[in-house]
């Protein structure tokens, strides 16, 4: 669906996007992840046909975004970051206008506008003036606009930014439902969102792609092991920590005593899972045990790892 090759965008001497290449196939939801100023929005603007690239090429649905811009744009629904809308129009007026602009034929107009109004939960504000809508509704009007012409590809630039948790959930559910009919490229700061929605993640930093994989693989590939937490009642925390450190597969141990209980934070070596050995050790030492767990590596850590290592 999307094919990007060596795409570069320079603003004067600054390379906002530095020869990135990737492909997205039909039906995927791909998350675009990166710190502010990483080049997410710039890349999306180029894909949507708004910005011309300095060099490189991009295709959407087999059409070159720059040489056959109009044809490609017919296949794209784009929601810009700050959701620009005309404040003087009513919701249904705006959607009709946008649908006509994007070539929805007159006979299908009512059906399409009705569909997106329902899908985005805009039925009750249909006749309201956009300028008076709350942020959450505006966001949904933007989404409705992006998909009113049934595009093959949806490009959503931070679709949940600035919304309250309830609205975020609504928008996420909406996006998840869209998966059936559209390929989606979305950018976000919110990492759990990516883990929930996306089949693949592109981590971009300073205009370069740092990682491109499924959330699961990213975790595994980067080898960021989670830490193990052991909560036990021990007589001497220092001696106990030294004892744990001797267990095979344990890299380092730190202990924090709170009342009678001591919490050990144990870093395991790469690929090792010494939980069983730790349990055996605790049993042998006859420590009463309150907790023994391993935290899952979140994408957050992966993200920090990937974008941070570049800075050093």
């Amino acid at each position: 669906m999307i094919k990007v090759e060596q795409l570069t965008k320079c603003y004067g001497p600054v390379k906002a996007v530095d020869s990135i290449s990737f492909e997205v196939s039909k039906g995927e939801i791909v998350g675009f992840l990166g710190p502010n100023g990483a080049g997410k929005s710039t890349t999306m603007k180029m894909l949507a046909g708004f910005l011309p690239p300095t060099s490189g090429s991009a295709q959407v649905a087999g059409r070159d975004v720059f040489r056959e811009s109009l044809r490609a744009r017919e296949h794209i629904g784009y929601l810009p970051e700050n959701v620009p809308l005309y404040p003087d129009m009513r919701v249904h007026e705006y959607l009709r206008y946008r649908a006509a602009l994007k070539g929805v034929p007159g006979r299908r107009m009512n059906e399409r506008v009705g569909d997106v109004l329902e899908l985005c939960g805009l039925g009750d504000v249909e006749k309201k003036i956009i300028g008076r809508l709350s942020k959450g509704y505006r966001q949904r009007v933007g989404l409705a606009d992006a998909m009113v012409h049934e595009p093959d590809l949806l490009i959503l630039d931070e679709p949940t930014i600035g919304l309250d948790p309830n609205q975020i959930r609504l928008v996420r559910d909406l996006i998840r439902n869209l998966k059936r009919h559209h390929t989606i490229l979305l950018s976000t700061h919110i990492l759990p969102e990516v883990e929930m929605l996306c089949s693949r993640v592109i981590i971009i930093n300073k205009g370069r792609i740092e990682a491109l994989d499924s959330p699961q693989n990213l975790r595994a590939r980067l080898g960021v092991a989670g830490h193990i937490t052991l909560d036990a009642r021990v007589a001497d925390a220092k001696a106990a920590a030294a004892g744990i450190r001797r267990i095979a597969g344990v890299d380092s141990v730190s202990a924090r005593t709170d009342g009678g209980w001591t919490t050990f934070t144990i870093q395991a070596g790469p690929g090792a899972d010494p939980r069983e050995a730790i349990y055996d050790h605790a049993v042998a030492e006859k420590w009463p045990l309150r907790e023994l767990s391993r935290s899952a590596v979140s994408l957050e850590q992966v993200f920090a790892e990937v974008t941070h290592s570049d800075e050093n």
Partner: protein, 251 residues
């Protein structure tokens, strides 16, 4: 074509959705009404061969309202879209740059023409009350309104260019006003240089709206101003198109 009409409809809609439109309409009516009054007084005093149409379109009040109205009509067209960011949604829809530029231009021009509609009523009322012809001949009407449209075309294009240059409406209005006023006063050059020979007078005739209007409202049809206004409108619109494209590509 359907896309162009959709865009044009949106332009007209947005023009009438804002309060400024009605403020402009109101004050424009006020000034032209006063101008009509001044024209009638002028006719009462002088027993010359001046017609009502001539008197109406050749007063200071007329020109005052005329040059003032364009920045107000056009300052919005591109600047607002850039400010709101809707230029991004607009230009990622499958529409051509040219379609957008023309739709915006004709939207503004159409609003300008609507401003002049009530003026027809003045002449109708004049004829009804005085049972005298407001114009010497039909050509006088035709000439005067043709000139209104021709000068309007060029000045609207200049206003659009100013609006395309910036995303601040006030700045757009100031640039448009300066440009239109500059061009207007250029046409008065021979007045400022009384010592200038016939060459300068001949030259300034080409871009003096006052001269053009004086002739056309008498029913004298001259092709030179027609060619001048049409060609310079096209030139300015071409500039608008280039600026529009350039600004998008730079953003």
């Amino acid at each position: 074509m359907r896309r162009f009409l959709t865009l044009l409809g949106r332009e007209l809609g947005s023009a009438f959705h804002q309060p400024l439109a009605y403020v402009v309409l109101f004050f424009f009516l006020l000034i032209t009404g006063f101008n009509f009054h001044a024209g009638v007084s002028l006719l009462n005093k002088s027993a010359g061969s001046t017609t009502m149409v001539e008197a109406f379109f050749n007063t200071v009040y007329f020109w005052f309202a005329f040059v003032l109205v364009f920045p107000l009509i056009t300052m919005r067209v591109f600047a607002e879209e850039a400010k709101l960011g809707t230029i991004e949604t607009l230009m990622t829809a499958p529409v051509r740059d040219g379609q957008v530029v023309f739709a915006k231009y004709f939207g503004a021009l159409f609003f300008y023409l609507i401003l002049w509609l009530p003026s027809l009523l003045y002449f109708f009322v004049f004829q009804w009350v005085t049972s005298m012809s407001a114009a010497g001949a039909a050509g006088s009407y035709l000439g005067a309104y043709a000139m209104l449209i021709l000068i309007g075309m060029l000045y609207t294009a200049i206003g659009c260019l100013a609006s395309a240059l910036t995303d601040n409406q006030i700045v757009a209005a100031v640039i448009a006003f300066a440009g239109i006023l500059g061009l207007f006063f250029l046409g008065l050059l021979s007045l400022f240089l009384p010592g200038a020979g016939p060459f300068v007078r001949e030259l300034t005739y080409y871009f003096s709206p006052i001269q053009h209007m004086m002739d056309f409202s008498r029913g004298i049809f001259d092709t030179r101003p027609v060619v001048f206004y049409l060609s310079s409108t096209l030139l300015v619109l071409f500039a608008v198109f280039q600026v529009f494209k350039y600004r998008r590509w730079k953003s």
